[in-house]
């Protein structure tokens, strides 16, 4: 283990190298580009014995990973925002085909209008595609989570997205402990045989048209229809609720650092108000909780590390009998509310000791989110709570209403 000053993108690339990815295909987009540049350099210089395919688009980047993963290779790609949207068809394909691909999503705002800065609208827009989604708080967690992601993906045959905030993490230097290749090798064995059989001696047609209903094979055995396959996919995805913490624990054994598995918690013990978010906001919220405590408010922070599958039980457990959960979303389901906020409300619905759940939208298109903004939003929420507001429309933090004419 050595400690180095590196950006989030460096941390991601370093993890991919340590994980011995065999096929890498990616297409540049701000703020993800340095990941591609670094990996291609290592492959060219012979430092990373992998196939690097310099594709002409993100759709092709994920297609290359799909092809490579189907024949058993460990495959990696990374993208952001419009690049992620451009590969949407293949995001669904990779999941439905049950391929353990790992993809870093360097969170950036979606166009139009153009904006290269951070929010989480991109990855949130594909949360329903059947991937595991993990969100990172800082550069160290990016390195650790990216390495862990391969283990998670390969154990349940479901692809994993490692999401981290553009610029705030991707381009920000932090001290990062880099485990040795031997430590990572001990944690992450080579990929075992894929589910897919691509052998001349045992020809199979992988992923053909699949009828709605189960159908008999040539030997008369009933095989699943589309809906059964989807149910099995969902069951495998749900296994991540056990596998993500288990892998985090194995990582902790191998390198001595853990991230709490599904959720990260801070000052939760006696907290009445719990500040909830995913990504780098979580680091900020730990500081906000301290600020509020200094003001006499019993505040804590809860970070969602694993957003898909949604850790409903873990959240119910942590939030039972609190007065208020305030969710900060860097995304919006337009016409509704923040995605994490909506999911949390559904998870807590009608449980004993259900807290009030309020949502706040913040940081879209890289709008600076200061600690004071976050703290003030919490103070406002507390006064709404005291005023007896049970259901509150999402508030927009730091919105300059005067400019909206």
């Amino acid at each position: 283990m050595t400690t180095r000053l590196m950006t989030g993108n460096d941390a991601a690339a370093t993890a991919v190298k340590l994980a011995r990815a065999q096929v890498i295909a990616a297409y540049p987009i701000t703020p993800q580009s340095p990941v591609v540049e670094q990996l291609s350099r290592w492959v060219e210089e012979g430092e990373l014995p992998a196939e690097f395919v310099a594709v002409e688009s993100e759709h092709s980047a994920l297609s290359v990973c799909i092809g490579a993963s189907t024949v058993g290779a460990r495959a990696f790609t990374a993208t952001s925002a419009n690049g992620l949207a451009y590969m949407t068809e293949q995001i669904w394909w990779a999941a439905g085909a049950r391929l353990p691909i790992v993809m870093c999503v360097v969170n950036r705002a979606m166009a139009a209008p153009w904006n290269v800065l951070n929010d989480q609208q991109d990855s949130m827009s594909v949360r329903d595609a059947g991937w595991v989604q993990l969100y990172c708080r800082d550069d160290q967690e990016i390195l650790d989570t990216t390495a862990q992601a391969f283990r998670v993906a390969e154990r349940i045959n479901v692809p994993v997205m490692v999401c981290y905030d553009g610029f705030l993490l991707s381009h920000t230097m932090m001290p990062v402990d880099v485990p040795s290749p031997a430590e990572v090798d001990a944690f992450l064995p080579p990929r075992t045989a894929p589910l897919q059989i691509v052998e001349v001696s045992d020809p199979r047609n992988v992923g053909p048209v699949t009828p709605a209903d189960p159908r008999e094979d040539a030997d008369g055995a009933l095989q699943p229809g589309y809906m059964e396959l989807r149910a099995m996919h969902n069951a495998s995805l749900l296994q991540a609720l056990e596998v993500v913490p288990a892998v985090d624990a194995e990582w902790s054994e191998a390198v001595g650092r853990s991230w709490g598995g599904l959720v990260g918690e801070y000052l939760l013990d006696d907290a009445e108000i719990v500040l909830v978010a995913a990504g780098s906001l979580v680091t900020q919220l730990t500081l906000v909780a301290e600020t509020l405590r200094a003001e006499g408010v019993r505040a804590g922070a809860l970070g969602i590390r694993c957003y898909r599958p949604f850790p409903a039980d873990a959240l119910r457990d942590r939030l039972a009998s609190r007065a208020l959960a305030l969710v900060y979303d860097k995304a919006l389901s337009y016409g509704n509310e923040g995605p994490i906020c909506g999911d949390l409300k559904a998870a807590l619905y009608s449980m004993d000791g259900e807290p009030a759940v309020y949502g706040a939208i913040c940081g879209l298109g890289g709008r600076d989110v200061t600690l004071e903004h976050l703290a003030q939003a919490a103070r406002d929420a507390l006064s709404d709570l005291e005023a007896g507001v049970a259901h509150r429309a999402p508030v927009w933090i730091d919105l300059a209403e005067g400019s909206m004419r």
Binding site: E56, G67, E89, V200, P203, P211, R215
Partner: protein, 301 residues
Amino acid sequence: MTRVSELSTTEYLLSGNRACAGCGLGIGLRAITKALDGKMVLVNPASCLTVLGGMYPISSLDVPWINVAFPSTASSAAGVRAGLRAMRREGEMTVLAMAGDGGTADIGMQALSGAAERDDDFIYVCYDNEAYMNTGTQRSGSTPAGARTTTTWTGKRENPKDVPAIMEAHGIGYIASTNAAFPTDVYDKVLKARDRRGLRYIHMNTPCPSGWSFDPKDTVKLGRLAVDTGVVVLYEIEDGVFRLTGRSASLAKSGKPLVPVAEYLAAQGRFRGVSDETAAEIQSWVDARWAGYGARHTPVG
């Protein structure tokens, strides 16, 4: 040139599949799989070929097959190849990407262009039935002028894209044009492609009785007529050297004029009602292409 009697009797295309009676694709696919002796993995996007391949859990082709998304044939195949190489398995099988004309000339063009520019190591076969047949005979970039489709009700106005020429502009080492009605021509070209490296592109015209509206018994006749009229020209371009092959080479050598295109048009329902003016335009398009190919032809020897 391989003779019919020399073709392998092993069948990889299985009977009782879902293709229409008289489908030209079936004839071509038999020749292709024989040429590769089954040591291949088929990478295939949505198309009639997918339907021919059958619904889960039964496959109509006795070779490994990977279904991929419609626009992603070439990129997925590049990934399969990269994956096999990373696994040190590249010697086990030829990667054969095979898409329809829509999946090639239109939605798959970007990925194909990328793979060609990188000279990725696989064979790409475009089987050209000249429309989106799988979705109900809509026009494609490869539909010929005059043809009626379900999105060109009065006949398409534009000539088809010349995909082999686009591939040639990428500077790849092997490009061929063939027709499924000539299984030995298909076979020889796939055999040649098999033994080369880099991206190899084969454009195979496949007469389609359902989409072109002719009697299924005439599939091979139509393929032959396409060649005799110069609508389809059999050739290959090896390392930049252009050569007519098979029946097209014999035609050129004989010096005889091409059969008038009108005969080809009259044989298919899709050209019913084509105006004399359009027919004349198609004829001059064919003549100009034929003259161009003739000028480039380098006889063997």
